[in-house]
Amino acid sequence: MGRKGMIAAAYACTALLAAAACGGGSAPGSLTLMSGGGVYQDALDAAFARPFEQETGVVVHDDPTLNYAKIKTMVEAGSANVDVIPAEGYWAAQNCGTLLEPIDRTVVDLSGIDPELIESECSAPLLTYTSTIYYNNTRFPEGTGPTGCADFFDVARFPGKRAASSSAMPNPLVECALIADGVPREQLYPLDVDRAFRKIETIKPDLVFWNSGSESSQFMLAGEVDMILAWNGRAYAAIEEQNAAFSPAYGEAFLHYDTMVVPKGVADPAAAMRFVAFTMDPARQAKLTTLIPYEPSKPGAPLVDLPPGLQEFLPSTNPKVAEGVIVQNQRWWAENGEQVTARWQQTFNG
């Protein structure tokens, strides 16, 4: 290549890169649904996105790269090119009014949803899941295992390794510690952070952490721990689908939820709200449960055609789980997350 050719090529590459960087934005008449990808996105796609497309003609694109910092950056730069996101409850409460649009209640019908879940006017709760204790039934034979938070924190009666999520926020280990320390479940909030961490310190040498749902399943499959505080969907996958030797302890079931949110500054807020309304249909939500082990936020449609064994793990199909349900207060976590995270890092990262 000659000198001029090389220089021209260098400039052409720069121009190409610049052009590639400036793309993006939802085209008119289309929406972008952003989630964490994988089986979750596939399920959302089958239960909501494709049917919505068929019914309204509005094309729904999938974006599997959910990252809260990315949404914040987009909204602050004034060009949100994702329109609808199933986000964690605490994040919706934390960013309502700054990054998120209020839900248009004239379009979106939230009636029937547990009012405890609607913690900000930007939230349209979509689905729920629980954090429950499961124990290794080769280590503790059936009937002799731990039965809840009190036992999870009792290393004298139940020695062995226990696992919990590594993420400070919103980690139900904090609530679990307070219950183990004798706080009645109706009086949990506002959480006494000092007291919780004093209790957590007592089991620190026996604690290991999972970083992702799939890692919590891996813990159960490999039998690496003696008990685990894990999401019910992941426990179901390990125990029922892959025969991990774990059993539910029942006891407390900390209930979390994902909520549909619409960022500020989307191209077509009305279309985004229509999509949110579409996801609030009980029958469609019940369909989602057949695809991925999360429960509808909106009662009204019977849960049928569930995969075998799943009903054992869901509050609405197993009274033993329902009894232990404690709704985790996402508003409290939104307001106090920074304080808990600092304390968490001091305890575990220092």
Partner: protein
């Protein structure tokens, strides 16, 4: 950063006039200014936005930040050491074996680079866990089971595997240029093989070692997935704190300040390494 450390080739601009050379430099520089320089300035602004030096003062006062920053550097240093111990003999072997075997060795060291980081890290998790294959083998020969993951051992194993190519390739590039007749000359003057190797070969290979280790060190400082998955929270590196700060707490200011402290300390270490390279180059002459 990598380009700053590679040795300038002799007469790099020989084929082109000096002004044409500048013209080639402009697109790259413009791209760097636009895609690296400008965001970096933005980040600096963000770290200083609320309120003045407040974010930096907060980091100075934090009991966790200093510990984690120090740990980030010591972990990188440990990974460097492992890469040196494993990589130096490997790179040396590549210079003495037959061309076919050399190609095979090259492929072996490059394969990890072509595999997704997530896949590799998860594989380590499965291999090294308490009931994993490695521990089953160790138990079989009566040594195990040893705690190989969720501690610094796991982090070091995982990071060293990822970083090894960055150590081996620069070392090999320099070693292959070393004239082996110098060793014969030393032997003919009465030097024993070890003395010839240590006093002739090692100093000549040092520039490659320093380039390789600088790359490994700097890249290791930014590790996130490996320490998160193969370590315990007490092995957390700075990038993990930055991630929590920015994505979970939405606190870009503190996260940006953490990033800047890391960048500045990294530049200091790099400057020290460049200084060391000059000394090494002088002693090799």
């Amino acid at each position: 950063m990598a380009t700053a450390l590679t040795l300038p080739g002799p007469g790099a601009a020989r084929g082109l006039g000096s002004r044409a050379w500048l013209a080639l430099y402009v697109p790259g520089a413009a791209l760097l200014a636009l895609c690296f320089g400008y965001p970096l300035l933005n980040l600096l602004g963000l770290s200083l936005a609320t309120p003045g030096l407040g974010n930096y003062v907060q980091l100075w006062d934090s009991p966790v930040f200093g510990t984690v920053l120090l740990r980030t550097f010591t972990t990188s240093a440990v990974v460097c050491t492992v890469c040196l111990v494993l990589g130096y003999p490997y790179a040396y072997a590549m210079t003495v074996v037959s061309p076919r075997l050399r190609d095979l060795l090259l492929v072996i060291v490059l394969v990890p680079l072509w595999t997704s980081l997530m896949v590799r890290t998860f594989s380590w998790l499965v291999l090294l866990q308490d009931n994993g294959i490695v521990n089953a083998g160790l138990t079989g020969i009566g040594v195990g089971p040893l705690p190989l993951i969720r501690n610094s051992t796991g982090v070091t194993i995982g990071m060293a595997q990822v970083m090894l190519p960055f150590a081996v390739l620069p070392m090999y590039a320099i070693m292959q240029k070393i004239d082996r007749r110098l060793l014969q000359a030393a032997a003919s003057c009465g030097a024993r093989p070890t003395a010839a190797f240590l006093r002739i070969y090692v100093p000549l290979s040092l520039p490659g070692v320093l380039v390789g280790l600088s790359l490994v060190f700097v890249l290791s400082l930014g590790f996130f997935i490996t320490p998160q998955m193969l370590g315990s929270p007490s092995n957390a590196l700075l990038s993990q704190l930055i991630y929590t700060q920015i994505t979970q707490l939405g606190d870009g200011g503190t996260g940006a300040a953490m990033g800047f402290v890391l960048l500045l300390t990294t530049l200091l270490v790099l400057a020290a390494m460049v200084g060391l390279r000059r000394v090494a180059a002088r002693s090799a002459r």
